[in-house]
């Protein structure tokens, strides 16, 4: 009688299954009888570096400059402020590979209208997280956002901020005048700017 491929496969499967059943039985018996047992438990901790911008409302915000009400006064930037966004992140680092992580921000599309600067002030961490959370990288002054990366948060080790608005670092966006560039202001340059945040090793 010649055996076909299928027959070989079937035999192999049966042998394998029997072996598996036998091993399972052996382990059960061994476990029952032993007074001491050694087994290897492999624990893997994943590397994590994830981030999000959260808000109670829309993550798309507006900074609206107010016109003066009296001739001779300047436009008013005091209301062109938004503090509705929160930076959330989770980080598990390897002490050997990266001492800490940092978050950078830059403008990747659109441009801040001439005569103005866009500042973001990340606030100190607050929320329901745990671990070695990051610190605002330039204290209370925050950073002017431009087209190249500016460090916003430094010294992030292994931690998580908690999820959603109210957790992490509140982001306060504001506009300010560029020195002696009032003449550059142009309402035709009202614009939408996209800001990119990156969490990365330092």
């Amino acid at each position: 009688m010649e055996l076909t491929c299928g027959d070989y496969l079937l035999i192999m499967l049966r042998i394998f299954t029997s072996l598996l059943a036998f091993l399972t039985l052996f382990i059960c018996v061994y476990a029952q009888d032993a007074t001491e047992a050694n087994n290897n438990v492999s624990i893997d901790i994943p590397e994590v570096a994830i981030m999000d911008v959260e808000s109670e409302g829309s993550p798309s915000i507006s900074l609206v400059v107010q016109a003066p009400s009296e001739a001779g006064n300047m436009i008013d930037l005091t209301a062109a402020v938004d503090s509705s966004l929160w930076l959330n992140y989770s980080s598990v680092r390897s002490q050997a590979v990266e001492s800490s992580r940092a978050i950078y921000a830059k403008v990747i599309s659109g441009s801040v209208p001439s005569g103005l600067r866009l500042r973001v002030k990340p606030q100190p961490y607050s929320g329901s997280g745990d671990g070695n959370l990051g610190l605002p990288s330039n204290g209370i002054n925050g950073r002017i956002l431009v087209a190249t990366d500016r460090k916003i948060i430094r010294n992030i080790k292994t931690c998580y901020t908690g999820d959603g608005a109210g957790n992490g670092h509140r982001l306060i966006y504001s506009l300010e005048f560029r020195n002696n560039k009032y003449n550059k202001l142009d309402f035709d340059e009202s614009n939408t700017v996209t800001v990119l945040y990156t969490i990365t090793d330092t």
Binding site: L10, L13, R14, F16, T17, L20, S42, D44, P46, E47, V48, A49, I50, M51, V53, P59, S60, I61, S62, L63, V64, V65, A67, P68, E70, A71, G72, N73, M74, I75, A80, D82, L85, I108, V112, P113, G115, L116, L118, Y173, N180, Y182, N183, K184, L185, D186, F187, D188, E189, S190, N191, T192, V193, T194, V195, L196, Y197, T198, I199, T200
Partner: protein
């Protein structure tokens, strides 16, 4: 046999699951973006601020045989304005003046000019056009104003200087019973 296959399948499935669980590739969702709309308003405001009305009287002759003469007054009025340009839609504005109430007495003309800017503002201020006659049509007093603000109140902006002048060959029309009060309106527009 189907039972064997399903058990074996389960085994390999578990192996696969375990293998996936123990993978050590980093979670790479490490960027995020959001948008910010920045809105700048169109602004065009003008005001004239002064401490007292302008009183203009032709100068009396110093000696019999001479005529009345022209008079000029640095008024207490200052032109204040605020402007934000639209680079593509209205890069500049100008300030115009015209009489909206009252009549200039016969035989004389009334003119105004703006002094160069001074004050606490910022930006690109307008340029005075020089002396212009006031009548019922708009006359440009300050031109080429770009984004700026003059500051508020006397001492900020352009001081206005008014001048009464005798019209040549019209001396006979002068009539001392014809004092007039005039209102002059200033507008900022393109």
């Amino acid at each position: 046999m189907s039972k064997f296959i399903s058990i074996t399948g389960l085994f390999f499935g578990l192996m696969g699951a375990f293998s996936a669980f123990s993978q050590t590739n980093p979670l790479v969702d490490n960027i995020v973006t959001h948008t910010i709309a920045v809105q700048i308003p169109a602004v065009g405001l003008v005001n004239v601020i002064g401490t007292q009305d302008v009183n203009l009287t032709l100068n009396n002759p110093a000696e019999a045989g001479l005529g009345l003469s022209n008079t000029i007054s640095d008024s207490s009025f200052w032109l204040n304005y605020s402007f934000i340009k639209g680079g593509g839609t209205r890069p500049y504005n100008h300030v115009y003046a015209k009489i909206v109430n009252g009549v200039i007495p016969l035989g004389i003309s009334l003119s105004v000019y703006a002094k160069p800017y001074q004050g606490s503002g910022l930006g690109l201020f307008g340029t005075p056009t020089g002396k212009v006659l006031l009548n019922y049509n708009e006359a440009r007093v300050v031109e080429n104003i770009s984004s700026c603000f003059t500051g508020v109140g006397p001492g900020n902006g352009h001081q206005l200087v008014y001048q009464l002048q005798l019209i040549p060959n019209a001396y006979h029309l002068l009539d001392y019973e014809q004092p007039q009060q005039l209102s002059v309106m200033y507008t900022i527009s393109d």
